[in-house]
Every structure is written in structure tokens, then in C-alpha cells.
């Protein structure tokens, strides 16, 4: 069994988001708490800016919940940079426990399921789950210098500049996490680092079908099935693969990467990055769940597990996806 059923149903009590300038202009702009006009956030480097964004999101989340830091048992956080430094440098400011997670863009769902498990087991009372990503720092690490005049291939995605944090708690309130499905690494041999959608979609399909099989639920039981950052093309592959396995999610499926920008030619496939699913979930989706406009959603964040070294060595790109089921 890869699906964890939570008996005590940990609740999500507070969220907070920080969004970059481009994201703030996007279709979900009005849902973000902090909108930046400068994506360096007054810092000297993009890496420092990303860390500050994550810090701000976590700090706002704690302040809004009116809980003292001593009540927060742990912060579970991840990002895309080498040795997840954005997270570690952000969390060093808080006097509490830290668990660093890395599953590329699937980190947010990973942190949610770890946090929920901690609370469900009664080991912790309040946990903060957060992730961030930054277009410029990711671009520097994985691809080319920003000023290099290279073309963006049509399959390329745009790394989201943003951070999202949410607080899980054992207080019985809505919305709450019902169950989560741990992902499996799936590799179909995609090697094109620009085609992340195709690399991650099989993992997404695997996790979603396992989730349905193990829970006995059907696509119709969910109001929304939200994939993390597959992009337009990856979403199509996901739907095709699931259809082959006998699950038709055409009606329920949305993709955070597709939602986040006003899709235009320059972003091609939509957003990606660890901050993509956390930004959308902690703003728009949380809002809808809180207002009970959505009853039950399945958040499936997908991640491409590559590094700049592995792709230079010609390795294929393994994908992973974790699913978290949230109800209100």
C-alpha cells in the first residue's frame, strides 16, 4: 500500500504566499498575499531573493495564525537549488525543527504528506509545509545564463517565481487532508531536459491510478484533480495515459502550471518549479476550499528528477509524483 489514510485528518489552518512580478500579473494574481514588483526582492542575488521569499511566506503564515513559534513543531520545506539552500537559509531564522525535502517540483506534496503523517501519528501538533522556486536562480543552475540569446524551444516551461507556505494542525477544522499516495519513480527514457512535461506525466499517471485503485475512488468523486506543473503538453499526455488505464479525468483535471500564467506564446507550456504547486494551492485552491466552492480535490505534484550534471552525462529524466487528497 502506498496510500496513507489519516484517521485524525490533519487540517490546513493557514496559508501564505509570495509571488513574483510575472506571476502577480497572471490569472491568479488577486489571490496572492504578497506581490513583488522586483524579483530580486531588494537582495543582491536571485538565490538570496528566493530564500527571502520563502522566509516571508513562512513568517507571514506564522503571524497570521497568531501562534507563537514555540507552538510550531517543525518546518518541512524544499526548493530546487543545489542542497536546497533557499530552504535552509530561510528556516535558519526560525527557532524550530527543520526537515528538508527534495523531490524537485513534487516537493510540496511530499512535504504535505510528511507533515500530515507527523500530525496524524500524534507526534507533532503544528507543522509548516513550504516550497519555493525562482525563475532566475533555476535558469542559472539548470540551463543557460539569463542574458544569453538562446531560443526557447516550444516545449519549454517557465519556472515560477514564488513561495507558498501552509500550516497543518491537529485542530479539527476544514479543509483537512484525508489521505496521501506516495509516488514511485517512473522513467520512460525521456532525455530532453526541455520536455519536462513528457518526463513527468508517466509518474503522474502511475500515482493517480494507484491512488484510485487503493482508495476505491473514481475520478468523479473529486471536484478537481490538480496536477502540479505538467504544462499544456504534459497534461495532455497525462490524460491520454490515464484514459488508457481506464480513468477518464478530462472533466476534473486542471494543471497549476496552466493556471498560473495567462498562457501566451512566450511561456509556451506554462509554469513549472517547486513553487508552482505551492503558490496555486496556498492561494487559489485554499481559498476555494475554505469557501466550500470545492469539496474534495486531489493535488498531484509532479517532479522531474534531473540535475545539470545528469543531463550532461546523457542520463534520462526520471519522474515522480505524490498525491494528496484534501477535503472540506
Amino acid at each position: 500500500m502506498r496510500t496513507l489514510f489519516y484517521k485524525n485528518k490533519p487540517s490546513i489552518i493557514m496559508t501564505s504566499t509570495v509571488a513574483g512580478p510575472k506571476e502577480s500579473e497572471g490569472s491568479l494574481g488577486k489571490f496572492y498575499d504578497v506581490k513583488l514588483s522586483d524579483d530580486k526582492y531588494g537582495e543582491k542575488s536571485f538565490e538570496k531573493a528566493e530564500s527571502k521569499m520563502l522566509y516571508t511566506a513562512i513568517d507571514n503564515c506564522i503571524n497570521k495564525s497568531k501562534k507563537d513559534i514555540s507552538k510550531i513543531d517543525s518546518i518541512i520545506s524544499g526548493d530546487l537549488l543545489d542542497q536546497i539552500t533557499s530552504s535552509t537559509f530561510a528556516v535558519r531564522n526560525f527557532n524550530t525543527g527543520f526537515l528538508g525535502v527534495y523531490n524537485a517540483c513534487a516537493s510540496f506534496c511530499e512535504s504535505l504528506s510528511i507533515g500530515a503523517t507527523m500530525i496524524d501519528g500524534g507526534y507533532m501538533q503544528n507543522v509548516i509545509c513550504a516550497t519555493s522556486s525562482h525563475f532566475s536562480s533555476a535558469e542559472r543552475q539548470y540551463r543557460f545564463p539569463l542574458e544569453l540569446g538562446s531560443t526557447r524551444p516550444p516545449l519549454a516551461q517557465w519556472t515560477v517565481t514564488g513561495a507558498g507556505a501552509c500550516m497543518l494542525s491537529n485542530s479539527k477544522s476544514n479543509p483537512k487532508i484525508v489521505c496521501s499516495t506516495v509516488g514511485k519513480i517512473v522513467d520512460f527514457g525521456v532525455t530532453d531536459a526541455n520536455d519536462m512535461g513528457a518526463a513527468m506525466a508517466p509518474a503522474g499517471a502511475e500515482t493517480i491510478s494507484t491512488h484510485f485503485k487503493e482508495t476505491g475512488l473514481k475520478p468523479n468523486d473529486y471536484d478537481l484533480i490538480v496536477s502540479g506543473d505538467l504544462g499544456t503538453f504534459g497534461s495532455r499526455i497525462l490524460k491520454d495515459l490515464l484514459y488508457e488505464k481506464g480513468f477518464d479525468i478530462e472533466k476534473q483535471h486542471v494543471d497549476c502550471g496552466e493556471l498560473i500564467y495567462n498562457i501566451s506564446e512566450s511561456e509556451y507550456q506554462g509554469g513549472s518549479g517547486a513553487g508552482c504547486s505551492s503558490l496555486v494551492f496556498c492561494s487559489y485552491l485554499f481559498d476555494k476550499l475554505k469557501k466550500k466552492e470545492l469539496k474534495r480535490i486531489l493535488l498531484v505534484a509532479t517532479g522531474a528528477l534531473l540535475s545539470s550534471t545528469s543531463s550532461m552525462q546523457g542520463e534520462s529524466i526520471p519522474g515522480i509524483a505524490h498525491a494528496v487528497s484534501v477535503e472540506c
Binding site: P145, E147, L148, G149, F188, V190, F233, I237, D240
Partner: protein
């Protein structure tokens, strides 16, 4: 442990290929053509100016022209304009010597945050390094071949 090849799922890869969106072929070629041609004409323009005003041997004229072009490429990179031209023109802005300048200056600016030794100076050659290495190596090879040729003939 399985190797990479054992993971390759050809059915899937072919399927992905068949549904993948394509680049707009004709448009990208036209853009590359006119931007590339325009940059070359700019070079020709400077060349004619130098030829008409200074009496220099042709090699030196060509040298100064490439210097001016490299200056322009670097300057536009610094202003953050060249990457936009690159996005529009693709090959049209990569292949001219201005693109070479862009590939030197862009990492230099970008890695300034890592300092002037390990950042600017060392990262400057991440893209241009191979060009210089292969350029020098192949020119030495050509030189040696011709040297032997002249010895024999």
C-alpha cells in the same frame, strides 16, 4: 542496477514525438534570415566606413570590424537586449560574431555574484571556451598540415 537503455520505452517516446507541438518552421527561418543578414550588413557598413576613411590593410580592416561588432554584441547583452533578439531570431543572432560576444558577456555578468575570480573570469568561458579551444586546436592542425605540405612540395 538497470542502465539507462533498459528504461527506454520506445512506444511512449514515439507517442510523445507524434503529439509534441512543433516550431513554426517557415517563420523561424525567415526571422533567422533577416536578422542574420541585417547584422552582416551592419558589419559591411562599418567595413566600408573604415575602408573609405583610413587606409588600412584588409586584414586590419576586418579585425577592426569584428572588434566593433563584438563591442555592439557585448553592449546589447549588458543592456539585456540581446537575449530578446535571440529569442526572436534564433540562429540569426547566435551565429554572427555578436553572438560569440553574447556568449562571453552573458555568463560574465550573470556570475558576478560569485566574485571576480571564480565568478566573472572563470564563468566567462563556459560557452566561449569550447570555441577558443577547438578554434586554436584546429588552426594548429591546419598549420602543421600546410607546414608539412610546404616541406614536401
Amino acid at each position: 542496477m538497470k542502465t539507462k537503455n533498459q528504461y527506454i520505452n520506445n512506444n511512449y517516446l514515439n507517442y510523445v514525438k507524434s503529439v509534441a507541438p512543433k516550431t513554426n518552421e517557415v517563420r523561424s527561418l525567415l526571422r533567422a534570415f533577416w536578422v542574420g543578414g541585417f547584422i552582416c550588413c551592419l558589419g559591411q557598413f562599418f567595413r566600408i566606413i573604415i575602408e573609405n576613411n583610413f587606409e588600412l590593410p584588409p586584414d586590419m580592416t576586418a579585425g577592426y570590424v569584428s572588434m566593433i561588432m563584438i563591442f555592439l554584441g557585448s553592449f546589447l547583452t549588458g543592456l539585456g537586449v540581446y537575449d530578446r533578439i535571440g529569442k526572436y531570431a534564433g540562429g540569426g543572432s547566435i551565429v554572427p560574431i555578436t553572438g560569440f560576444a553574447n556568449s562571453v558577456v552573458s555568463p560574465a555578468i550573470e556570475f558576478k555574484t560569485e566574485g571576480y575570480i571564480y565568478g566573472v573570469a572563470s564563468k566567462m568561458f563556459t560557452i566561449a571556451g569550447p570555441i577558443i579551444v577547438y578554434g586554436v586546436a584546429s588552426s594548429v592542425l591546419v598549420g602543421l598540415i600546410y607546414y608539412i605540405y610546404y616541406l614536401v612540395v
